[in-house]
Assembly symmetry: none
Homo-oligomer: 252 residues x 2
DNA sequence: AAAAAGTGATTGATTTTGATTGAAAGATGT
DNA sequence: ACATCTTTCAATCAAAATCAATCACTTTTT
């Protein structure tokens, strides 16, 4: 049985019953467990299925708008892990800027310190921050549809009134040469300011953002600390980084 | 039975009967108590269910503060009527300030004109305004717990950058002598500014606010137009007003 | 023939699970 | 109200299931 054939068979079976155990797939195709696992990994990378412990299921095909509400429900393990790492950097008494976005939102519930001041330009962050009981400040500005981030002249002016101990920024692209980038120039502007007004800056990015570039660059790679998940694409990225910068070892 | 399968089954059962005991879930899935508990914890973390002592139920649809929640449910009909009246004052092309609060929130869904710019200092107003598809600007500032209004120096500074065609303000008290008042001086400050920076100002108040005073006055009675519901307490208030001002007739 | 890709088996690590425990929350009786 | 009993809960542990990584072997490609 050809690889292609087998993977199609897996998909077909999944469409019939929505969910399939590993054992069902091995007996249906005659292939070994290892092979099926490899197939599942590959198919998942193509977003054609979703792996679950013990088997596979169809991807949650929310054809709905990538609205904040639905996006928020897809709190992936990755974002949660990144959120926990990021939250760990916050110390008692800190004043922190938290960028609009879902990655950054995930960190708020993990913040342990109680005495933290949060400044943000994101609607979803305000809500999460209030829910968690933090002292919360908001930049003003124009509300962008889609991300619901506050941008524009008012946001820039407001930003200048603050200095942060730490800034946590979301991104759409991380690239060795181009640095950090995001599609919207207005949002990039705010991100850039936040990084420069903060003593320490962190960029949160899941694996899908590595080696990507977007329209507007908002920081060089060395201007912020990258917080990301531990995957093989991170490994690959680190090797590239070592080649690029001639650094011989990087500690996580 | 796979973990994913089981959790889906739990959700399905809950959607059918709204609430489920632990024992129901164990016998329905065949899993142990411990496992079900773990599932419930996880599902709750994803906001997909709500745990209760002895089992689980569907999440309370809105994750807002209870006082906000109950407030919003209480004077619904009255607020809706007031909201419709207020929205009727908005014309195409207007730039309007809409104060934080539940009365003002009620007006947004009634706005007919499409080309309206909304500026606000209220979290709930942002959400409603975005939902309704208006061009939305936000004042920055400190987020007050309770009302979730943005106040403080930053909000004042931001306010100075705008001029409004109309301003719609909520209030806690309407009094013939003391004018309009609200408990929080910071919020009063913003309300006062908004009224003065607007060509026309409207105060929204349901019947329970008539003949009430609160700590901080933010405007004289004649500085804004009062929009309220038609009740006998309004009649009474109007008669008092006529006595007080010696006006002989007031047209609604 | 050499290199690359695919496969199945094996291994050790990780995740999931059910049982057990003491603590916490509710219910009951006085 | 108070003390007592029962139920439910969270934390912990060891066993089982599942997983990712690796190796050796086969097939395909160059």
């Amino acid at each position: 049985m050809l690889t292609y054939e087998r993977q199609e068979a897996i998909l077909k079976l999944l469409e019939q019953q929505k969910i399939a155990k590993l054992s069902e797939l091995t007996s249906a195709t005659g292939a070994s467990e290892s092979t099926i696992r490899r197939d599942l990994s590959e198919l998942e990378k193509q977003n054609r299925i979703k792996r679950i412990h013990g088997g596979a299921s169809l991807p949650s095909r929310k054809s709905e708008e990538p609205d904040m509400q639905t996006k928020r429900q897809v709190f992936t393990k990755a974002k949660d892990q990144i959120g926990r790492l990021a939250a760990g950097r916050i110390a008692d008494g800190d004043s922190v800027f938290i960028d609009a976005g879902t990655s950054t939102e995930a960190m708020i519930s993990h913040i342990q310190s109680k005495d933290v001041t949060i400044v943000t330009n994101g609607l979803n962050i305000i809500e999460a921050s209030i829910r968690a009981g933090f002292r919360t400040y908001v930049l003003g500005g124009y509300v962008k549809s889609g991300t619901h981030a506050f941008v524009g002249r008012a946001a820039v002016e407001a930003m200048k009134q603050y200095r942060f101990d730490k800034a946590f920024i979301g991104t759409n692209g991380v690239d060795l040469e181009f640095g950090y980038s995001t599609p919207d120039p207005e949002e990039a502007n705010i991100k850039q300011l936040a990084i420069r007004e903060a003593q320490q800056a962190f960029v949160l990015a899941d694996a899908s953002k590595l080696n990507q570039t977007s329209f507007s660059r908002f920081a060089e790679l060395q201007e912020a600390e990258l917080i990301t998940e531990e995957t093989d694409s991170l490994e690959k990225f680190l090797h590239q980084l070592m080649d690029y910068t001639r650094v011989k070892a990087v500690r996580l």
